[in-house]
């Protein structure tokens, strides 16, 4: 069944997701949405790994996906702790509110 879908289509889907995530990181100013966009980028890389792994009939792609998931979870944990701190201090999730350093 998977043979029917060429790998390039899977990679293209991953690429579109990745671009969406990157655009989100660049455009959004709300820290929560930035973290969500980063998750999308991570997961698109994971999707690319799974697609590539299925092309070569290797488990490596799926193992890398587990690593990516773990990283995403760890980063979400720290990111949300920072969200709490940011809200606690500025009563806003706007990252520009916290940006003082320049240059």
């Amino acid at each position: 069944m998977l043979e029917a879908i060429p790998m390039e289509h899977g990679l293209a889907l991953a690429g579109v997701l990745f671009s969406l995530g990157l655009a989100g990181v660049l455009i959004r100013r709300n820290l929560l949405f930035i973290l969500m966009s980063i998750e999308i980028m991570m997961n698109s890389a994971g999707l690319a790994f799974v697609v590539a792994g299925s092309r070569w009939h290797q488990p490596d792609g799926q193992i890398m996906f587990i690593f990516v998931l773990t990283l995403a979870a760890a980063e979400a944990a720290i990111g949300l702790a920072l969200v709490l701190q940011l809200y606690h201090r500025y009563h806003s999730l706007d990252v520009d509110a916290a940006s003082e350093m320049r240059g």
Binding site: M1, P6, A73, A74, A76, L80, L84
Partner: protein, 139 residues
């Protein structure tokens, strides 16, 4: 793209499944509208929770402790994924794999002991109060 008979039949069965799904949904939504009775009233628009009238809004402020518990769940959940990967290859990885998995679990256990000891897991207010009282007695 292959167009072998097997592939075509697989796509056909998926199409049939989709069609069945759409029919079922239309049936379930349409039949009550045609056959069922209708009634209007102010109480009908209230949120309904097992016959209990709701109190206050849904926008409560949760203590940040809940975030911590959720995070522990996500992290330990992700760690369990590695054990799935080990469990499907337990014969191939042999005793070396077994000892590596044991080390992994022991490290996770050490992490859990650490979390319990620094008090990250006692989120009940009574325990918190008792702990604070104990600390005040010490000081």
């Amino acid at each position: 793209m292959t167009s072998s008979p097997e592939a075509v039949s697989q796509f056909l069965s998926i199409a049939a499944y989709m069609g069945g799904l759409c029919f079922l949904l239309a049936f379930m939504l349409g039949i009550p509208r045609l056959l069922g009775g209708k009634a209007w009233g102010r109480a009908k628009n209230d949120p309904f929770e097992s016959g209990v009238v709701s109190q206050g809004g849904a926008r409560l402020r949760f203590p940040a402790k809940f975030y911590l518990v959720a995070m522990f769940f996500v992290i330990f959940d992700a760690e369990a994924l590695y054990l799935y990967a080990w469990s499907v290859s337990v014969r191939e990885s042999g005793w070396v794999g077994f000892f590596e998995a044991v080390t992994f679990i022991l490290i996770l256990l050490a992490g859990l002991v650490y979390l319990v000891r620094i008090g990250a897991l006692d989120w009940a207010p009574e325990q918190l109060r008792r702990r604070r009282e104990r600390e005040q007695q010490h000081n």
